[in-house]
């Protein structure tokens, strides 16, 4: 798992670099007597909406504030053309963009008479507008499983506005719960499982920002097919990002030895040593998800001992079909051996930790004495 350590090491490097930069910036600001740059608009709270909108926007709203205004598509479906000023003023774009930045095809004379077969066809045809500014993000979506679907002609596949909204776009990093809910539009069942899991419950109920939301495991724009072996095998890396983070885990009293204990175990060793095998051969590798579940992850502590034993037992017998009820005791539950937890293993380890250095150092000394006595000619 050297990659994980690299990752952590890099994070430290980055954190250090950031501190150095901040410090340097503070020093420069002090010396030149200027104040540091004001935070970018994206970082300001969206609730602090400007009271007034630019004239260019006001001009559009002159008509589009009419809540009865709508257009009809070829299939008979209609779309309201009403834009709520409050929505737009509360969005991240209100400070930078005016209507025609996105709706560029429209001039003074519109309606132009452009017709679309359906409402969805209109939405899909206009979503590429975003790439004018968000080009890197757009290119990443082209590598996603969602784009694969779109390319295959599934027009319900999500595009920018399906997740981010249109006129009322919010900062997605600040609104993780909201962003995750957008996944539920299509992934209803999975979202319900997640919302009931140890992670989802605190995000949804308490807006706890420590827990992973959908995108933290699945990534944002280049979302990959999750059912693949590659995705499953990567789950230790994914989980370790948080579960190897000591300050974060100590907030909840969770052990960060999960990675070490996993790697020290038979399954973890297989995972580590089979990295270069074909995906087909790696099917057999057991990763975090195989025992802990995926979206429905529950806290083993809150579950209670008996329920947990039953879960582990079920997880074992997924592969070890003939495993008996007592077999899960072979698993040390991510805890390093101690006199209380796994006394037999602890005793064996303690004995050898003392005995090996004692015996080997003793023999080396004996050997040196022998050579010394032989060479000194008695």
């Amino acid at each position: 798992m050297t990659r994980r350590l690299d990752h952590l090491a890099h994070r430290h490097t980055w954190a250090t670099a950031l501190l150095v930069i901040l410090f340097a910036a503070a020093v420069i600001a002090r010396q030149t007597g200027t104040t540091p740059p004001t935070p970018s608009p994206a970082a300001t709270p969206v609730t602090a909406a400007p009271a007034q909108v630019p004239d260019a926007v006001a001009a559009c709203l002159a008509c589009h504030e009419d809540s009865t205004m709508s257009m009809t598509f070829e299939d008979g479906e209609s779309l309201s053309l009403h834009v709520d000023l409050k929505h737009f003023a509360g969005s991240v774009h209100s400070a930078q963009l005016i209507c025609t930045d996105c709706h560029s095809k429209y001039d003074q004379d519109h309606p132009s008479g452009a017709t679309f077969p359906s409402r969805r066809a209109y939405t899909v045809s206009s979503y590429e507008l975003c790439k004018k500014c968000h080009f890197d993000t757009y290119t990443r979506t082209l590598e996603s499983v969602h784009y694969e679907l779109l390319k295959a002609g599934v027009d319900t596949a999500p595009i920018c506005t399906d997740c981010h909204g249109a006129h009322n776009i919010q900062n997605p990093h600040a609104k993780r719960a909201m962003m995750s809910r957008s996944c539920a539009t299509c992934h209803t069942e999975v979202y319900a499982q997640y919302a009931d899991s140890v992670h989802g419950r605190v995000l949804v109920d308490d807006n706890n920002q420590d827990v992973p939301a959908c995108a933290d495991c699945h990534t944002h724009h280049q979302v990959q097919q999750p059912g693949t072996t590659k995705f499953r095998l990567n789950s230790p890396e994914t989980c370790i990002r948080c579960h190897g983070d000591k300050p974060l885990m100590s907030k909840y009293g969770i052990s960060t030895t999960v990675a070490q204990t996993y790697l020290a175990d038979f399954h973890g060793a297989t995972a580590s040593l089979s990295r270069n095998l074909s995906e087909d051969q790696q099917q057999i590798v057991v990763t975090c998800n195989d025992c802990h579940g995926v979206h429905n992850i529950a806290s083993p502590r809150l579950k209670g001992h008996d329920a947990m034993t039953a879960t582990v037992s079920a997880a074992c017998s997924k592969c070890h079909q003939d495993a008996v009820k007592t077999f899960p005791a072979a698993w040390l539950s991510h805890y390093p051996p101690s006199p209380r937890n796994a006394p037999m293993v602890w005793a064996v380890e303690s004995f050898y930790k003392f005995f090996i250095p004692f015996a080997v150092l003793g023999l080396i000394m004996n050997l040196l004495l022998h050579v010394y006595r032989m060479s000194s000619g008695r």
Binding site: F266, S274, H320, L332, E349, L363
Partner: protein, 228 residues
């Protein structure tokens, strides 16, 4: 004491002994090469070895095959030794006695300069005997824990399942111990020690120079040549 001819040899090891030693070299080596990467699964060296052996699954099968052959060797050795000693065909020359512990202490006294001469040894000196018994018990531990790891499900049917991780710890540590002993003790003792350097060939050829025998196994030499 008549000086023996420097080119005169006596037979020290039977072909069965020499075969066992060669087999241990091959099997112990194979078990180490296939086993050690499993003990340090996250190191790049381990990955390199495993990849060159054809992947972790091939490596594990090789390890098990070598383990089964090694078990056969241990069983054969014990059978031959026990029946040989019981029927009187073999001398129990490897048995540890009080004299061996006395020799050990006297030898340390000699190293430290308290006595003028090293103790005289029989067919096997105390170091060889300790190493032999270390090998026997080490092998029994490795074989027993190895089969627990080979058949964990079956074991958990009859015995507490905590035996499995305990066996895993024991198998790893005992292997490390055996490796270190061979490294510092056996190779150093049989190759690098001044009287054997660069190599003590007797376990391969079966023969030992009479002079060397007289020097290193004086009591056996006396038994063979002076008490006729």
């Amino acid at each position: 004491m008549p000086q023996p001819d420097p080119d005169e040899y006596v037979v020290r090891f039977s072909s069965w002994s020499r075969f066992q030693h060669a087999a241990v070299i091959v099997l112990f080596g194979l078990l180490l090469v296939t086993g050690m990467p499993q003990g340090w699964p996250t190191s790049d060296a381990s990955r390199w070895v495993v990849d060159h052996l054809g992947g972790i699954f091939a490596t594990r099968w090789l390890h098990r095959a070598a383990g089964i052959l090694f078990t056969g060797l241990v069983v054969a050795h014990l059978t031959v030794a026990i029946t040989g000693v019981l029927s009187g065909r073999m001398k129990p020359s490897m048995l540890l006695g009080r004299q061996d512990f006395r020799d050990a202490i006297n030898n340390l006294r000699y190293y430290a300069g308290y006595t003028e001469a090293a103790p005289k040894f029989g067919r096997y000196d105390y170091r060889q005997k300790f190493e032999y018994w270390g090998l026997i018990f080490g092998s029994l531990i490795m074989v027993a824990t190895g089969y627990i790891l080979y058949f964990p499900i079956i074991i958990s049917r009859f015995l507490p399942a905590e035996l499995i991780p305990a066996a895993k710890a024991m198998h790893s540590y005992e292997a490390l111990f055996a490796f270190l002993i061979v490294l510092v003790w056996h190779i150093a003792g049989a190759h690098l020690a001044p009287e054997s350097f660069p190599i003590d060939t007797s376990i391969f050829t079966g023969k030992i120079r009479k002079e060397k025998l007289r020097h290193e196994h004086a009591l056996e030499y006396e038994d063979l040549f002076e008490k006729k």
